[in-house]
């Protein structure tokens, strides 16, 4: 029987004295409870735990945990054939204090120990107001009959890109993306996520007639066949960008900012740059893939215009060009500039958006909610009469079909879903993406962990999710008496606010519930 000789296991067994640096581990966050009667010592949990939390002790013929290492990813719980494992919170934690919360204290400990930036993954987990949750949707009663989507046709197709200003004969036609439902998979780069997951996204996008976004990591040669459903990103690192990369795709996207970490570039540690990743990103194997914080050739709207038209030239004006920005203060003015610079699509990424790795302090404190950004951008573009020149994609914090409906009413054309897609394929939101050993095989390319997610399984679950959402969106449109998403776009009368101040209501451009 193999003996799992993890450093912390040896501490727990009393085989090694704790060393300085171990000590803050003395306060476990979670407790792995194991029902010894049910445990059959099959060691599935030991093999599945990538966080050095579970180990087998041959002397006691038992499975034990170093609870300090548990991140509550629940992989062992999921795999245990006898349901012998469950996670609980560890004890009382620190003394109750609403100011010095458990997490705050732990972060200080950790930083005092390491002197480093505290990294994290996934999206902002703080208790900010969720405006999505404070908006409610209208429904038809008596005077305006609702529609039954099972009996009548319902249009969910979204054309994303520049529209003509007025009708002409022959009509002006601009390159548009045609999505069968207004939900697109968010930019997640190969390297940050596993190849299998990206392949699953590609397969699901093809199946559902929508798009996936490559992120800044290039397009893997094996995914080239899904080019018709790929939005390819050009970020500050320019990883994997080639003429073939651009012209093989459905659309090009210039990444200026990311909702989870506005103002800083992506960071893929060298150990995650495997042979495959290096080939796709066109960088040496094992080298850190550090994206610069700004795009160094874009210091003004005019510079952005150069790049946008550079991409349009490269793709011979056959594909829309998108610009993605993080939702920050004055986002409306920035978006206006972007549209005037020639972008066909503007993506506004809210501060709830996820990330593969970001400093926790930036993830948690920088940016604004996508709801208000969306309302403001849509309003501004309409006021300036340039709303038709670009489509608006909202990203960052879209969790359900209800969020999609609310976002449509606030003025978005389509939505990016990233975290929701990860959760659909098994993510338990344990926020360990930055550690590169995701126990579900989603945000890792470690060869023993990545196969835990199989592309066709991911594709099936993602397709199911999209199918379910599409059905719900149809139901909600029908209940509002609408038969297409075009009729809902920017229709803020269908929304009402609950528990908001007048300033908030005005910012969102909606009325108080009851009015």
């Amino acid at each position: 029987m193999e003996y799992y000789e993890e450093p912390n296991a040896r501490v727990a067994l009393g085989l090694r004295r704790p060393e300085p640096g171990d000590w803050y581990h003395g306060y476990p966050e979670y407790h792995v409870e194991r029902d010894d009667d049910k445990c059959i010592r099959c060691l599935v949990c030991v093999r599945q735990c990538p966080y050095d939390c579970t180990f087998y002790d041959p002397y006691r013929h038992g499975v034990y945990n170093v609870h300090e290492n548990c991140v509550n990813c629940r992989r062992c719980e999921f795999m245990c054939p006898t349901s012998a494992i469950r996670m609980t919170k560890w004890g009382a934690g620190f003394r109750d204090n609403d100011n010095w919360k458990q997490k705050t204290i732990r972060t200080v400990y950790k930083q005092a120990d390491s002197g480093a930036v505290s990294l994290t993954g996934l999206g902002n987990d703080r208790e900010y107001v969720s405006y999505f949750d404070r908006m409610v949707i209208d429904a038809s009663q008596v005077t305006n009959p609702s529609i039954d989507p099972l009996r009548e046709p319902m249009e969910l197709r979204a054309y994303i890109g520049k529209k003509p200003e007025r009708h002409t004969n022959p009509p002006e036609v601009y390159p548009n993306l045609k999505a069968e439902l207004p939900v697109i998979f968010a930019p997640m780069s190969f390297g940050a996520i596993s190849f299998n997951f990206q392949r699953g996204l590609a397969m699901a996008a093809k199946e559902a007639g929508t798009y996936f976004n490559t992120g800044e990591g290039g397009l893997h040669p094996d995914l080239r066949q899904y080019g018709d459903h790929a939005i390819v990103q050009i970020a500050s690192g320019r990883f994997g960008v080639s003429l073939d990369y651009l012209s093989n795709a459905a659309a090009c996207e210039i990444k200026i900012g990311q909702g989870a970490k506005p103002g800083i570039g992506g960071h893929l540690p060298g150990e995650k740059v495997t042979w495959d990743v290096s080939r796709t990103r066109m960088i040496p194997e094992g080298s850190d893939a550090l994206s610069p914080a700004p795009q160094h050739d874009i210091y003004s709207i005019e510079d952005l215009r150069l790049l946008i038209y550079g991409l349009k030239e490269a793709t011979e004006y056959t594909r829309p060009v998108s610009v993605k920005i993080a939702a920050v203060h004055n986002v409306a003015a920035i978006a206006s500039g972007i549209v005037r610079a020639g972008a066909d699509i503007v993506v506004v990424d809210g501060f709830r958006g996820g990330t593969g790795a970001a400093p926790a302090v930036i993830r948690d404190h920088v940016g604004i909610p996508v709801e208000v950004a969306l309302a403001q951008v849509d309003q501004r573009l309409r006021e300036e009469g340039i709303r038709h020149q670009a489509s608006l994609i909202a990203a960052g914090g879209i969790r359900s079909s209800a969020d999609v409906i609310k976002g449509l009413a606030l003025g978005a054309d389509a939505f990016y879903i990233g975290t929701a897609a990860m959760v659909a394929v098994g993510c338990t939101a344990c926020q360990q993406c930055h550690r590169g050993r995701c126990s579900w095989g989603i945000t890792t390319n470690r060869p023993d962990l990545a196969p835990r997610l199989q592309p066709e399984v991911a594709a099936e679950r993602l397709t199911n999710l999209l199918h379910g959402w599409a059905h719900e969106i149809k139901e909600m449109l029908g209940m509002m008496g609408l038969n297409s998403i075009e009729s809902l776009r920017g229709n803020r009368l269908k929304l009402r606010g609950v528990g908001m101040t007048q300033v908030e209501l005005d910012t969102l451009g909606i009325q108080q519930a009851g009015l």
Binding site: I40, R41, V44, Q48, P81, D448, L449, P451, R452, Q454
Partner: protein
């Protein structure tokens, strides 16, 4: 004939196939019982059944045996079991004819005839045959155990290992035409 084929690029080294195999070949088909109780019904020289896990461990009672085996090397892992060959080396080597090819093509052992002589272990080039020390047809010290290998789960349509595999790293299919 349908056989179990591993797809190593999908294997995640969880060993659930082994668990499923043991449970499927247990009497109760309940994991806890299969491991904690049935595994201890050990036909020792004094024909006594050990029921106390601590005593069983002290006596060196083997844990229940899986017929499928996950073999690993570094990051690579794959689940292997009997290939059910058309001309099985084990049948050609079997000392007293207790191994045979059944009508449906499965390679099976007559469990009341096998004398545990190691010839099949020696002959099987896939390393797919092990020995089940819990049973013996030769009560002498020198010879114990009988041949133990995959029987493709006769009571199930899909073998248990294939059924349980979370990443479909095992497939049960007919590749005879390929």
């Amino acid at each position: 004939m349908k056989r179990v084929y591993p797809r190593e690029e999908r294997c995640i080294n969880c060993h659930l196939c082994e668990v499923a195999c043991i449970v499927e070949h247990s009497e109760t088909k309940l994991p806890s019982a299969a491991y904690h109780v049935e595994g201890l019904r050990f036909n020792r020289e004094d024909s006594r059944t050990i029921c106390d896990p601590a005593e069983a461990r002290a006596a060196g009672v083997p844990k229940p045996l899986n017929r499928t085996l996950v073999q690993t090397a570094g990051y690579l892992s794959l689940s292997t079991n009997c290939r059910h060959c058309e001309e099985p080396d084990c049948v050609l080597a079997c000392k007293n004819g207790s191994l045979y090819v059944a009508e449906d093509g499965r390679v099976l052992v007559q469990e009341d005839k096998c004398v545990g002589c190691w010839m099949c272990v020696m002959a099987c080039r896939y390393g797919a045959i092990s020995r089940n020390p819990a049973r013996s047809n030769v009560p002498a010290v020198a010879f114990n155990g009988i041949n133990h290998h995959c029987d493709l789960c006769p009571e199930r349509e899909l073998p248990a290992c294939v059924w349980v595999c979370p990443t479909n790293a095992l497939v049960f299919e007919d590749r005879d035409d390929q």
